[in-house]
Every structure is written in structure tokens, then in C-alpha cells.
């Protein structure tokens, strides 16, 4: 038997919510002390087909999130028997308990900021070249030219990053007052200036959304992507550690990416 886990919740009794899991499977709670693991049973392998299953996982977590604090599990966390789920809960109880308390009444919002990286880099390069051309340059050996080129690239990269830092600080300042925690990632690509996740108390959701509207209305040519509220995927803190549990990741991971829809999305 396979036991698929959707999340860890701050509840140790039978759940009353009418929610179905992957492939319409029923969901129940495996209790341990004052927490529980939200799971579905599957007789054999879990027939993962496409991204719809990822959405089903997400829908379960979001429905449960309405009434409980949830630590969402990463998609496709599967154990082979109930005893191993309980062993896992026992082993990580203090981590789960701490996270459940910290994330109580919290939701996550995503903010992405996109800037014209190539244009900014070109502008920095041009400014640098102009400054260099104003200097009287003597003939240099190939070795010195090579080092000079490397140094120029370093200076341009550094200035590009510093400009990104300045812009991110401006964006972040709009939200700082309303967030409990944040995860900011800078320049995943030259154009994706900021990929941010903010942890926000449910009572401050309105303020956070208003802050985003103010950011959007501010001058500048950046593009923004706002999403949420999400379960706090980015704010769980359980780190990989030694475990005697018998859980396993399914071998069908890569099949997800054979799906036509995802291939099209990639293009």
C-alpha cells in the first residue's frame, strides 16, 4: 500500500471537511500527539499523469488551509505504511510543532518583478566604456588587455547587481510593514529582477494587497506579477535529515514532464 501525504496539520482528530484527494481518493488524518498527517491510501502505485495531479494536491492543501494551519508537503511524498508515517511524525514532531505555531493564521503571497535586464546592462556598459574612453590609454600587452577585460566585466556585473539591489529595496519597502517573514531571490535571470515570497498574517492581507496596488501605480517600467494567498510553501523549515522512515519518491517523476501541456508551457 502507498500512503500519499498532502500536509501536516495542527489537528489530531477526524477531519469533517468534504475534500477529495488525488484521483478522487478519500482523505483522512493520521494523528500523532496534537498534530496530524493528512493522507490518502492507494492500493498500488499512484497513477501520476500530468500537472492536474499537482493541482489536485494544491486544492487539498488550500481547502484544508481554510480551517487549519497546514504545512504543505512537497508533491509526491509517499510512504509505504502507516507505521512509517507515525515514525516520521514522531521524529519531526518538534519541527512540525514549531512551524505550525509560527505559521498559525499566516498565508503566503508571491511577488515577481521583471525588468529589462539587457537594456540596463547595455546602459551600464555604455557608461563604463564612455568613462574609459575619456582616459588616455597607452598600448597594452595582450596579458594586460586580458586582465583589463576581465576587470571590466567584473565591474559591469557588480554595478548591474547593485542596481538590482537598489530596485529590490524600493519594492520591498512597500511591503515591509505588513509582513512577518520574507524570502527574496534576486536575478534568477537577467530579467527576473525579484522573485519574492512574503508571509502575511491573514488580518493584514488587505493592507498587503493595497501596498501592491501602490507599487503598481508608482513610476517606473517594471512589470509585476502578484499571486496569492498561498499555503506557506516557502516558509516551512524542516531540513532534510537522517530518518528511518520508509517513504519514497515515485519513479514516475519525469513522466510528468512528458506531458504535452508542460512541454508547450516550456516553449
Amino acid at each position: 500500500m502507498n500512503i500519499y501525504i498532502y500536509g501536516i496539520i495542527d489537528f489530531n482528530k477526524e477531519i469533517k471537511e468534504t475534500v477529495t484527494g488525488l484521483n478522487g481518493a478519500s482523505i483522512y488524518n493520521i494523528p500523532y500527539r496534537n498534530i496530524g498527517a493528512l493522507v490518502s491510501d492507494f492500493d498500488e502505485s499512484i497513477p501520476i499523469k500530468d500537472e492536474d495531479h499537482v493541482l489536485e494536491h494544491e486544492i487539498v492543501v488550500e481547502k484544508i488551509m481554510k480551517n487549519f494551519t497546514v504545512l504543505p508537503m512537497r508533491f509526491l511524498t509517499v510512504f509505504d505504511k502507516k507505521d512509517n508515517v507515525i515514525s516520521m511524525l514522531n521524529e519531526h514532531y518538534s519541527d512540525f510543532r514549531e512551524d505550525l505555531d509560527r505559521l498559525n493564521n499566516m498565508v503566503e503571497f508571491g511577488i515577481k518583478a521583471i525588468w529589462p535586464g539587457a537594456i540596463i546592462r547595455e546602459r551600464i556598459e555604455n557608461a563604463y566604456k564612455k568613462a574609459q574612453s575619456d582616459l588616455s590609454l597607452s598600448t597594452q600587452s595582450p596579458g594586460k588587455s586580458f586582465i583589463k577585460e576581465k576587470f571590466e566585466k567584473y565591474k559591469i556585473d557588480k554595478e548591474f547587481e547593485e542596481e538590482a539591489d537598489r530596485c529590490i529595496a524600493i519594492i520591498d519597502d512597500f511591503f515591509n510593514r505588513f509582513v512577518a517573514e520574507k524570502r527574496l531571490e534576486k536575478l534568477k535571470t537577467d530579467n527576473l529582477l525579484l522573485d519574492a515570497a512574503y508571509l502575511v498574517n491573514k488580518e493584514k492581507q488587505g493592507d498587503f494587497k493595497k501596498a501592491f496596488e501602490e507599487l503598481k501605480a508608482s513610476p517606473g517600467d517594471l512589470k509585476y506579477l502578484f499571486s496569492g494567498p498561498w499555503p506557506p510553501y516557502n516558509f516551512v523549515t524542516l531540513l532534510p535529515s537522517a530518518s528511518h522512515t520508509k517513504s519514497k519518491r515515485l519513479d514516475t517523476f519525469d513522466k510528468i514532464f512528458q506531458h504535452k501541456g508542460l512541454k508547450e508551457a516550456e516553449r
Binding site: 499537482v54 521583471i114 529589462p116 537594456i119 517594471l222 532534510p240 519513479d251
Partner: protein, 82 residues
């Protein structure tokens, strides 16, 4: 899912379609790359590394593609803070 995603104006069916796509990508990014990870005897295979990589690649490339499809190219960066 009742998810607010605001990549652009909401005044055309094309925009709505794009929003749905972006929502899916946001879900994929979280459910595939974030969340509680139980390690130990779990099989952490190369497939998982690929999964993380592909997930990010999908998200980043699609967000950028979405912006390109919006039409008006971006020009000039936000002014620096003073």
C-alpha cells in the same frame, strides 16, 4: 482554486488564459520545489534534481514569455532610489 494572479490587465479572454497559465506555473513552482521535504530513506534520485531544474526553468521562461507576449516592450529601468 480562488487565486489572485495579476500579471496584466483583465480585459480580454487572452489575458484570462494567460492568467490561468501563470497560476498553474505558480502552483507548480511551489508544490514541486517547496514545501516540507522528508529525507532519510527517501529515494532522492536524479529525477528529483531534474524536477527542480525543469520546474524553475518552466516558471522563469514562461513568465518572461508572458511579458514578451504582452506587446509593448519594456524600455528603461525604474529610476534608482535617491
Amino acid at each position: 482554486m480562488d487565486k489572485i494572479v495579476t500579471p496584466q490587465d483583465k480585459d480580454s479572454s487572452l489575458d484570462i488564459l494567460k492568467e490561468k497559465k501563470v497560476t498553474l506555473l505558480e502552483v507548480l513552482d511551489r508544490a514541486l520545489n517547496k514545501g516540507v521535504v522528508i529525507s532519510g530513506d527517501i529515494v532522492i534520485s536524479l529525477a528529483e534534481v531534474d524536477l527542480i531544474y525543469v520546474g524553475l526553468k518552466l516558471l522563469v521562461s514562461s513568465v518572461e514569455t508572458m511579458e514578451r507576449l504582452r506587446g509593448a516592450p519594456m524600455s528603461g529601468a525604474k529610476e534608482e532610489a535617491t
